[in-house]
Each structure stands twice: as C-alpha cells, then as structure tokens.
Amino acid sequence: MVRKLLFVFWLSVAAAGLAQAGEAAPVAEDQAVEARVQKLSEELRCLVCQNQNLADSHAELAADLKNQVRDMLKRGQSEKEVIDFMVQRYGDFVLYRPPVKSTTWLLWGGPFGLFAGGLGILFVKLNRRRKDAGTPLSAEERVVAAGLLDGEGKEGA
C-alpha cells in the first residue's frame, strides 16, 4: 500500500515536471517579445500623460498601444515598422527622441550653439582682463591708489 502511494506520488512529481517542461518554450519566446515590447515602449510617448513613456504609463491608451506593439512584434514586424506605425498616427510627438530634420535643428543644435556662445563670451572676457592686467598704472592712478591704501591703514589703526 505504501509502495503504491509512493509510486503515485513520484508519478505526479514527474508529470508536474513534464508539464512545466512543455510550457517552458513559449514562455521563453514571450519573454523575448516582452523585452522588445518593453524597449520600444520606453521610446514611445504616452499621449495622455505626456511626460511618461508607454512603459511607465498606466493610462488605458498606453495599455492599448502596448498591446498594439506586442501584436505587431508577434506578427514578425520589425521595430522600425512599429515606430513608423505610431508616427503615422500620432506624429513625431510620439517619439521620445525627436528625429533630426529641418524643423528640429534648433532643438538639437540649440544647446551646442548656446555652449559655443558661452565659450565665446568667456574667451573675450578673459582676453580683455589679461590686456587690462598688462597695462601699468598711470601716475594719477598711483596717487589715487596710494590715497586709498593710506586711508585704509588709518582706519585700521
């Protein structure tokens, strides 16, 4: 009796193992798709809560769009096709990384332009300061400076 029960027990353990083995393959495939869905969702903006991407957003539309991304990837479509699909419907705005084109040159180039401008101003200022330091004081300036220093000395004493 005990032996029979043990046999049934091992049989069920083996069956459970087999059942898991059978499911393992699709789960792995899903995980691969899921990883791609996740990666793409981080690149796409949620239109409802605009400062979140699809991956972060809990809006209903974000869930729908994520499902759309998943469906398309499962159908074997490429990342680029998914991106094109979204841009066609929601415009460049849907992209978290805006494309470089004539209307976005200021956006992409602006910071570099500001940086270059800042460097230019710094250079000019430093140059001017160096030139000022190079010129010796005139006689009048020396008198004024000496007066100031003496005055300070008296106040200190």
């Binding site: 239109l47 409802v48 605009q50 539309l61 729908d64 841009v87 419907r89 929601y90 415009g91």
Partner: protein
C-alpha cells in the same frame, strides 16, 4: 547705463518666449492626418449590429467624424452643441463610439438625443488608434474625397462650430 542693456535684452527675450509658451496648449498635438486620406475601417453600427459603416459610405459628402463614448465626461459638455449642429442640417455627423459597451452607448444616445447620422462601434479602440485618437472627444472634418481637413481635440464648442467648422464645411462644399 550700457551695462544694463544686455540683461534687459536677455530678460525681454525670455519674457517673449514664456509669453508664447504659456499660450500654447500642450494637449493639442499637431495631427499628422491633416491633408491625408481618412484611414479605412468597416465596423458594425452601434444601433444595428447587422449593418456596417465605413468612411467609403460617406464618399462624395463633406462630413464630421466625432469620437465619443458613454464614459466620457467632456462628451456630455459637447453633446448639446452637436445636437444643435445636427438640427440645422449643416453637415452629417458620424459618431465613433470608442471603447464602449454597445448597451451603454445606445442608452446614452437614447437618453440625451442622437445627433449622429450613424454611429460606428469601436469596441476595442482599434479604429481610434488608426485615427490617432488619444483623448475623447475628438472631431475630424473630412471632405468629399475622403481627405481629413481638420481635427479638433476636446469638446467642440459653439465658437469652434461657428468660427472654424461651419466656414470650412461651406468652403469644402463650394469647391
């Protein structure tokens, strides 16, 4: 005085940018659909499950596609405006009941009046995605050739009807 000039100019430019920025509505994402053919669909009608509706059925007419839902709060605000527009027979309005239950959608129209020539039933929101819908209500003006000419996001108001939609519909009908 000259040393105050530069900060003043910078300040004025900043104020200019902020003044323009404050007037922009971030909810209004420029639609990539303007001037493009309305995406095709064929779904069942809300009122008659055995009949379908497609943009092709409206070919040759200037028409409005209004995306609504019984769960949408702003649609309640917009509804009287649409009813008024429908009463004047300016332009046929096709409804798109977006992500809604059929019963709930029908009940909503029965209770509040039905401004739509016909309503399409978009149960899972797939048509909505094809039209780039991201907030209900949205309204599209579509011309005789089936090209989208205008998109309004958010509830349609009397001003929008008077100043934008009606003149555009007249122009499109005249052409």
């Amino acid at each position: 005085m000259r040393r105050f000039l530069l900060p003043l100019v910078v300040f004025a430019v900043l104020v200019g940018f902020l003044a323009v920025g404050l007037r922009l509505n971030p909810r209004e994402v420029p639609s990539p659909f303007i001037g493009k053919p309305a995406p095709a669909f064929r779904v069942s009608q809300l009122g008659a499950a055995d009949q379908t509706i497609s943009p092709d059925d409206m070919r040759g007419k200037v028409w409005l596609l209004n995306v609504w839902a019984s769960w949408c709060v702003s649609c309640r605000q917009e509804h009287p405006v649409l009813l008024d527009l429908a009463r004047h027979h300016v332009v046929p309005i096709v409804g798109l009941d977006y992500k809604d239950e059929r019963d709930a959608g029908q009940a909503w129209l029965a209770e509040r009046g039905d401004p739509y020539a016909v309503s399409a039933w978009d149960r899972d929101g797939k048509v909505g995605i094809d039209y780039g819908v991201y907030g209900v209500p949205e309204t599209f003006v579509i011309d005789k050739a089936g090209v989208i000419r205008m998109k309004h996001i958010g509830p349609v108001t009397d001003e929008v009807i008077k100043e934008k939609i009606v003149p555009l519909v007249k122009e499109l009908n005249g052409a």
